[in-house]
Structures are given as C-alpha cells and as structure tokens.
Amino acid sequence: MDRKLLLEHIGVEGIHTHDVYRKQGGYKAVEKALKSMSPDDIVEEVKKSGLRGRGGAGFPTGMKWSFIAKPEGVPRHFLCNADESEPGTFKDRYLMEKIPHLLIEGMILSSYALGCNQSYIYIRGEYMYVLQILEKAIAEAYANGWLGKNIKGSGFDLDLAVTTGAGAYICGEETALIESLEGKRGNPRIKPPFPAVKGLWGRPTVVNNVETIAAVVPIVNEGGDAYAQFGIGRSTGTKLISASGNINKPGVYEINMGITVEEFIYSDTYCGGMKNGKKLKACVPGGSSVPILPHYLVCKTAAGEDRLMSYESLSDGGFATGSMLGSGGFIVYDEDQCIVRNTWNFSRFYHHESCGQCSPCREGTGWMEKVLHRLEYGHGKMEDIDLLWDIQRKIEGNTICPLGDAAAWPVAAAIRHFREEFEWHVNEPKLCVTKNYGLVTEKKFEPVNA
C-alpha cells in the first residue's frame, strides 16, 4: 500500500491554490460531512480510524475529542498547533507551505465535529512567510464559501484565523500555546484543569497538531475503517517523517507506518542511505526529545527483530533499548559525529527554551548544559557522568510540563548507550577536542538504569 493520503497531490502544479486543490478533490470531505454526517459521526469515524496525535505524544485523537466539555452556552475552541519547534521536525511547515487547503479543510471538519465556531491556527513566529501563505488560502476559502456564516447552507458557522508565536519552543506545549494565544508569556499551566474543560479564555478547548488535523480529511473521505487499513497494529495510517542528518536524501516523506527502519534509511525511495558511504553511528527517530539509539539498535530491536517505523516498534524495549516515534523528526548520525557534543547541543537547546517556571527544569537544564560543556571541551571529571545521570533523574517526572522530561531523556539515553564515549572524553582531554570517538561497541544492556 504505497498510496499517500496527505501528500498524494503534492506534485500537482498550483496545488496551494483553492481552484487546483478543489479540482483534485479538495473540500469533498467538507461537502460530505456537512451534507450527510453529524458531528458525532465524524468523532466516531476518527475513533474507528485509530488516528493518534502526530504532535509527539501519540494520544488517540478520537478519544481526546470525546473528552471536550460541553457546558450550555459556553463557546468551545479548536486550535491547530503549528508551533513546530522540536529539533529535527519540519513536516508541518512542508504541509502548510505546499498544500495549505488540506489543513484548512481539516480545520473545518474538526471544528464541526467539536462544535466550535471560532478556530485558530497558532504558527511559530519564524514561519512568517508560511503564515502569509495560510492567510491567502484562508481568504480563498472564505471567498468560496468554505468559511464564514452558514457554510454551504448547512447552518454551520466557522471563523478561522492564523495567529503567531514569536520564538519559544515551549509554546508547542498545548497549555503554553493557549497562554501565548491569550497574549501572555508561554508558561504552561498547571493541570488539572485540562484544556478540554478550561482552555482558551477559560473555555473548553482542543489542541491538535497540523498533521493530525490534515489526516481527518482522508478519514472523512474514505471512512475510519479504510484509514485503519493503512499502517500496522495500533499505528494506523500514514505518517510524515522529517529526515535529516548525514543521509543522502534529507526531506519530508509520507510513509505507510510499518515499513522497516532499514528500508527507510537505505532505500532510494526515502533517505537513500548514508552520505559519503559513512557508517551509521546513531539515530534519534522522533525529534530531539526522544532517546537516541546506537547503531546496533536502530534497524533491529534488542530481541533481534526488524525495527519498524511505528509507534510500537520504535518504543520496543522501553527506554532501555528503544526510543519513540515522537514527532517523526528522524535524525541520522554517521561515524564522524560526537555524541557528547550532540548531547551538549540538545541540552543547551532545552536550557534556552525552559520557561523557567518550575525549579527542577529552570535550574537543572542549565546545570546539565554546563556539565556537558565541560565534558565536551576536555575539562570533565569521571564523576560528571554520574552527576549528569543524577540531575536528569531529578528533573524527569518532577516538573509542570513534559519539557523537563524532554530535557532529561536525551541525556539519560546518551549516557546509557554511549557511556564509553563520555569516559573517553574524560580520559583523553586533549584528543577529544580534535578528534571524534567513532563508533561505539555493541553492548549487552544491563537493566540497572532502566
């Protein structure tokens, strides 16, 4: 099943315009839904499809939708999370830039399903030119009667607007996004209450990722069951993967979930293999937050089975020997890359992006960055490795929002799988600033640090 569901028409000239999009079957799902489906029918189809959130957490979308509170007389809001800032992830930008009407169509369907009449796309400030593409497309959608009052005579009203961030990764966290949309600092809220009960302006709110929302279009067009035919197990449908790093063909790929990681990295349909004939050293399969895998755990699981591009298979083995699909930001490292440097780099990122509200994350992310910096530049001590382990352990699970975990996991995974490379940095303080360690040796995992 090589068919694409989201990017099927991406190659068509002018697909970013309403008329071409429409000619390719665009807005058929809206017509169908408004004519023959109730809001609950759509929620039902989304449940049947098995669609899981594409923003990183993989939470079942239909279930999330069914949690929204419906108090009498209180407006509800549907928000699109287009903050896309997880390092290694650039699929939402691609989708919005190339085929903006797909997102708009998905917004209409989702808003209808949830009974929302005022919806927003929150896009990161750096994507200003994408914002302009979206605004143009929204204007076209209004002009063609897909937005506004009484859409196509259905009695359903929807206003859709794009609004912008201004440089803050944390605003991808849904309650920080809501705060930001209210014109405030992007401080995540303390939950409960959850957005489904009290979100934007205190009203029931659902936040979904760009790709999740786009996937509602094929689900309505072809039915949830048909969508669930794609993919494997509980990883139904197709997934956009942003591939970057030392590979021949970086870019955005729509994959049918369940293809092997090996095929994804080495086949010419996708990444086209390692650049310059180098060897694979490591891979971060789901954006910078997820655990890094050493070369011997990338294409095979610890049990020796083929690792697949799916939620379940990528997390097979838990954090001990697995990782996560996350946002689908697939970063590939070759033998010349330094794991300590990369871990320091990611730590600096989380340090830079912590909102500073809660003490373990505010203080701990900076501390980890400093220790890693010292290790990378040959001033580290052997105890630093255990110190790092302890700091990340004290952050993980003890913070307001998952950014704390996201900062802790990459450090933990790097130490777990690449400890010998960290030790080498301590033992070879002069060498480690001029030379890279190379491949790590395969090791049997000892489950103490799981």
Partner: protein
C-alpha cells in the same frame, strides 16, 4: 431539605482526616498539622493561581481513591492536586518523595547565594528552613552563580534578585491587591527575573505586602530600622485605627523602638489580612500603635529552633544607616 455535605476521607502518612471535596492534599495535610505537612515555597492560599511551581510540596499518591485505587504514576504537587475519597498519600513516609524533594532543594540552591549569615532575611527565610531540613550541607554545583545588583523599587522596597526563587507570589500579590501591576517576570528560563523593566517606583498603597509574601530575602523593607538579625527584635501584636486596612500588624521592637512593621502571618507563613503601606512603612513610633502583647512565633523555624543564632558577623552594621 437539609443536605449534609459529603466529606472525603484521605490518609496522609497513615493519619486519616475528613475534608470537603475540592480540598487540596496540602490543605488536608495542614488540617492534620505537624510532620505530615509538605513544605510549600510558592503556594499561598490567599493568592489565586499560586502554587505548582517550586515543586517542594511533591508527594506520592499510593492509592488514587476508593473507586480507582491505582497509585498515581508520578509524584504530584500537593498544593494543586485535589483529594479524592479514599486517597492515600505519602509525604515523609515515602523515600521517593524525600529523594525528589532533596533534588528540588538542591536545584533551588544552585543559583542561590550561600551567605545566609549576612542576608536580611536570615532567621525567617523559608528556604533556609527548607535547606536545613532537606538539603545537604555541601553543593555539587561548581559553576558561577547568577547574581544581580540590589535595586530599589521605590522608596520603600529593595529587590535583591540574586536571592529570588521565582515563586511568583509577589506578582500575584500585585495583580490581586493592586489595580496597576508595575512589576513582573522578565526574560525566561534561568534568566528570568523579577523586575519593572525600566526603573519604576512601586507605589500602590498595598504594594508593601510583596515583602511579606516573599519566602526569601529578595524583597525587603527599606524602612527596617536597626536591621540586625531579626532575633534581636521582639515581635508584638499591635493595632491602630487605619482608614485603609485592618490596622492589625506585628511590630518588631528593639527596646522601645519600632524596628519594622509586618502583617501577621499564620503558622505556614501566610498573611491572612494584608496591611497598607502607611501602617507598614510610616508608623515607626511606639505611640502609633496599641500594643496587644508578645507575638508567639510558633512556626517550626530556625528562629525558634536556634540553629542560626550565631553572632552577627563583624561587617554587618547593627545600625542600618542606609
């Protein structure tokens, strides 16, 4: 039809208590009192929105409720988590909690100066108390600490940002007690700071209360006379007729002189009746006040526990001439 409010039963460190639905774990623990009460550095019951940030009040929920007895997967903040009927909570009896709390304390201290003996808040600092109980005496942090210069925010209040733990209490206080908030949180992450952005005087007539809500020595009273160690002063309950506030305060006496005035705090360090700037900053004569009698400081604090009653170092002037 009279209805009796159903009460929820909750057990904390083995002690059972019945509370109204909606009560948080922390407030349930406070009903029990004593050792089962988790420390709270950012929560302040009268300030809406406070809590959840410092993470010192983390506890373990070993049983979710009677209906759903599964334990909660992660530690939760007791100040912001409502109890469920039949919930079982572990505070001091949980190793996980003590370990995590020690971690939080260590985090709070890595950028905090270690000069308690010369800090104006010494002896009545919640962080000092917390560190004494939960921290280690050595630090593993070997990098430069962030420091700021002391600044005056108005004629009455001094801000020493270096000591701030970003509990946000003073911001909520300004938001909820005054109608023109002028200070707030600037920048983000560990660069975040309390400030006014440009030099500004905080001048609202209730703004002085930020001093009392501050758990550390970041916001202090510039009119505090004889700024010695507080344990040389004698706290007395006192009141006066005030048009603006309740006029109920604590005056801190040295001999016959009023060294400073604060609001009255309960055993958890919380002010229930805020006082106005006039009472706090301008009534420094004994004759301004009707003295009721000595104030019992019944917090289990280092003031009463004597841990820090050392001679004031020679370089701290006993008389503050500033």
């Amino acid at each position: 039809m009279s209805e009796t409010n159903p009460k929820f039963k909750v057990t904390i460190d083995g002690v059972e208590v019945e509370v109204d639905p909606g009560t948080t774990i922390l407030n349930a623990a406070r009903l029990i009192g004593g050792d089962v009460v988790p420390p709270a550095m950012c929560y302040y019951s009268s300030l809406q929105g406070s809590g959840g940030k410092c993470r010192t009040c983390l506890v373990e929920v070993s049983k979710g409720s009677e209906k759903d007895p599964r334990p909660m997967p992660k530690l939760v903040v007791s100040c912001s988590t409502p109890i469920m009927d039949g919930m079982e909570v572990k505070n001091k009896s949980s190793e996980k909690v003590m370990d995590a709390r020690a971690g939080v304390v260590e985090m709070l201290l890595i950028n905090h100066p270690l000069d308690c003996p010369i800090c104006d808040q010494a002896g009545e600092c919640d962080l000092q108390n917390l560190a004494y109980e939960h921290g280690k005496s050595t630090t593993r942090y070997e990098f430069e600490r962030r420091t700021f210069d002391k600044v005056d925010i108005g004629e009455y209040i001094k801000l020493h940002m270096t000591r701030c733990i970003l509990c946000y209490r003073c911001v909520y206080t300004a938001n909820q007690l005054t109608d023109q908030r002028e200070h707030g949180i600037l920048n983000r992450g560990d660069a975040a700071e309390i400030g006014t952005f440009i030099e500004k005087n905080l001048k609202n007539e209730f703004i002085g209360n930020v001093i009392d809500v501050c758990p550390v020595g970041a916001l202090t009273d510039k009119t505090f006379r004889f700024r010695s160690r507080v344990w040389y002063t004698k706290p007395m309950d006192a009141h006066r007729d005030c048009k603006c506030c309740s006029g109920k305060a604590v005056v801190w006496m040295i001999g016959d002189e009023v060294a400073r005035v604060t609001a009255r705090k309960d055993q958890y360090g919380e002010v229930k009746e805020f006082i106005c700037n006039e009472c706090r900053f301008e009534k420094k004569e004994k004759s301004d006040w009707t003295i009721e009698g000595p104030r019992h400081i019944d917090r289990n604090s280092v003031i009463s526990a004597n841990h820090y009653e050392v001679e004031a170092p020679a370089h701290t002037p006993l008389l503050n001439k500033a």
